[in-house]
Symmetry: C2
Subunit: 386 residues, 2 copies
């Protein structure tokens, strides 16, 4: 029921440590590229949603909605931010999807942005940790590397996953990012370098972890009936689903699966009338490489426990049966937390349009993105089709 | 177009300095009252939106969406926060409105919450200031009392508004709050006490300013077709409109009007096919008393410049032609920033149901709320009808 929604423009800034730009600079850079790409004029945009986790702590500026409308010269249109931790970007996409479907909006700009390098590393870590259950996890030193380390150790114990598997995700995603001009780390990294990188929280090493990143991504979305007026290559949102789970990892029945991902993926596939075998390309939330392994299982590419084996077999490589994170993923494209969920959709839209250049998945028609908040307390799944 | 949306349950916690409760405690207290009031069971709620401005800075916990679903025992439903500075609550109501209208959700819980007293007063002031244009206003000491002082001085110069007018808003709103068991200040205050209270930013005094408040408010909203299944007294959202303006006050053409309020009110009245004379009761954002004076003009109760005179004539008192802030408003009910926009809707719903007890506006059928972010950079207007 309701109207269909199309993506008609995409934009990014190059992710990295962007010392010479402010948060609003990069948000508007990504947004303006998306607007140019879409062919709409600024005056046709009637609303803005922004995925952002913690601009108040990272940069000392909230109220980004009004700021973006104002400094982007987009007039007096409705504009606001959405927060769901590292899934804030996906949440902003979903809000715009519902806003357009409701008939309240026709053409919306969706931005995802975060500037994380303006504070020191300790403050960056603390700011991210408030996406966990701070009173029961973060405050006691269970930062995200530690929480994902629990998940990794347990996965190793139950399914024989190895440190080499954790490292292979990094090798794959860096190889992909080397082909992505917007990625933070546009270079391949050898397995032995990953496996000997510094240990943060055993078994998780520096090169199993996504970096601290400044970055922004943008989309122009519209009522599907209007899409062909602006572009010959619209991409459609065929499903948008979101689920929650316990905020604290220790409250879950299992450390080796994310129930919110399982449920939201299942609902999304049902909504789009697709099976997982119909999906040609995936962007999965690899804030830590064990996360990608667990998600390949939870979305159903492989059976539970076979996420490591899938890497040995190359199933998730570019050219494999289910290419995962052709963009380089959070690991190598970078993980500006509020931007990530939007950047995933940008990558899938490019793939479905055939505009992904050297990292193009041939003939991709359906794409699926999973954007996670915390250790899986929020999961947002989008399925795109052309 | 799209489906109609009803409010079927309301809840609040008593606003104040709530040292013995956490942010999530008060959010769930308000939410549970709203659920009880609505007659739905928790399992019928299929989504949560939360208005919150800055839990990350005020309390060190983000990802409130997943936390509320988890600790509220509401299961794995979609849940996220919305931020638009002091209009975050209104934005959360509007998101839920669109989500239900889109057909993606049927019954939603809307929470607004903020816990501001866990940090010291300086940090509270700084945290609120990031809703202004921090780089051009807050950082140079132009905190909100200072910005509203500019507006007040200019209003005095242009229209002859007096310090006594600024004080009369306080007297009226405290008198109303004395009849509201959820208000932070449930007592009347005499004019001479207001007029001799400490000067913060000339001409703005302590008692012209809303307080630092801990508080939460909740609503259960649903597809209007389902409303009568749960309650005999549904209240309908007849219009939901939002506008932006420049973030910085100095970029505006005028200091004495808020264009975003003028535009969003006009659009909302048009959407509801009403004129301002059809409105029986209003909740207007009085973070400073000059704000209420400006808003009475901008929504069209009186001509521009006559906001002071309206107070002399008692037009906005309980029993007057256009009762404004029967709840006590931000000034006396309190202003937990993310909660305020939801609390305004709670008050209007109670008024339209005839459940407002000693502060009841007789026979109220239509209510209008204006929730402001910053100095008017965001304006969100809702019109409710029974």
């Amino acid at each position: 029921m309701g109207r269909k929604v199309a993506i008609i423009g995409v934009g990014m800034c190059e992710f990295g440590e962007l010392w010479d730009k402010s948060l609003i600079d990069i948000a508007l850079e990504a947004g303006m590229y998306a607007i140019f790409d879409s062919g709409v004029s600024g005056s046709e945009i009637d609303g803005i949603t922004i995925g952002n986790m913690s601009a108040g702590r990272f940069t000392g500026q909230e109220h980004l909605g009004a700021m973006a409308a104002d400094q982007g010269g987009l007039g007096n249109i409705p504009s606001y931010s959405v927060e769901a931790a590292c899934a804030s970007g996906g949440a902003a996409v979903r809000q715009a999807y519902m806003a357009i479907k409701s008939g309240e909006h026709d053409v919306m700009l969706v931005l995802g942005c975060e500037k994380m390098s303006d504070v020191n590393q300790t403050e960056a870590m603390n700011t991210i940790s408030v996406a966990s259950d701070w009173e029961w996890e973060g405050m006691f030193g269970a930062t995200f590397p530690a929480l994902y380390a629990f998940m990794a150790r347990r996965h190793m114990l139950e399914y024989g996953t190895t440190e080499e598997h954790l490292a292979k995700v990094t090798v794959k995603n860096h190889a992909n990012a080397a082909k992505n001009p917007w990625a933070q780390f546009q270079k391949a990294v050898p397995l032995e370098v990953v496996m000997s990188s510094g240990l943060i929280a055993d078994p998780i090493r520096v090169l199993h972890s996504s970096p601290v990143t400044d970055g922004a991504a943008g989309l122009v979305m519209c009522n599907a009936e209007l899409a062909k007026k602006f572009t010959d290559t619209p991409v459609y949102i065929e499903a948008s689903e979101q689920c929650s789970d316990t905020l604290a990892l220790h409250d879950r029945a299992s450390l080796t699966r994310m129930d919110a991902v399982i449920h939201s993926t299942r609902s999304a596939l049902k909504e789009a009338s697709l099976g997982i075998n119909d999906i040609d390309v995936l962007e999965l939330h690899d804030s830590f490489t064990i996360g990608e392994i667990i998600l390949t299982e939870d979305v159903g590419i492989v059976e539970k426990g076979d996420g490591g084996k899938a890497l040995d077999e190359g199933i998730t490589e570019l050219g494999g049966k289910f290419p995962v994170n052709p963009s380089g993923g959070l690991k190598a494209r970078g993980h500006p937390v509020g931007a990530t969920g939007v950047a995933q959709i940008v990558e899938l839209a490019l793939q479905l349009r055939g505009d992904a250049d050297k990292r193009q998945v041939d003939g991709a028609e359906k794409g699926l993105a999973v954007n996670i908040g915390g250790t899986g307390a929020t999961s947002i799944v989008h399925i795109l089709g052309r």
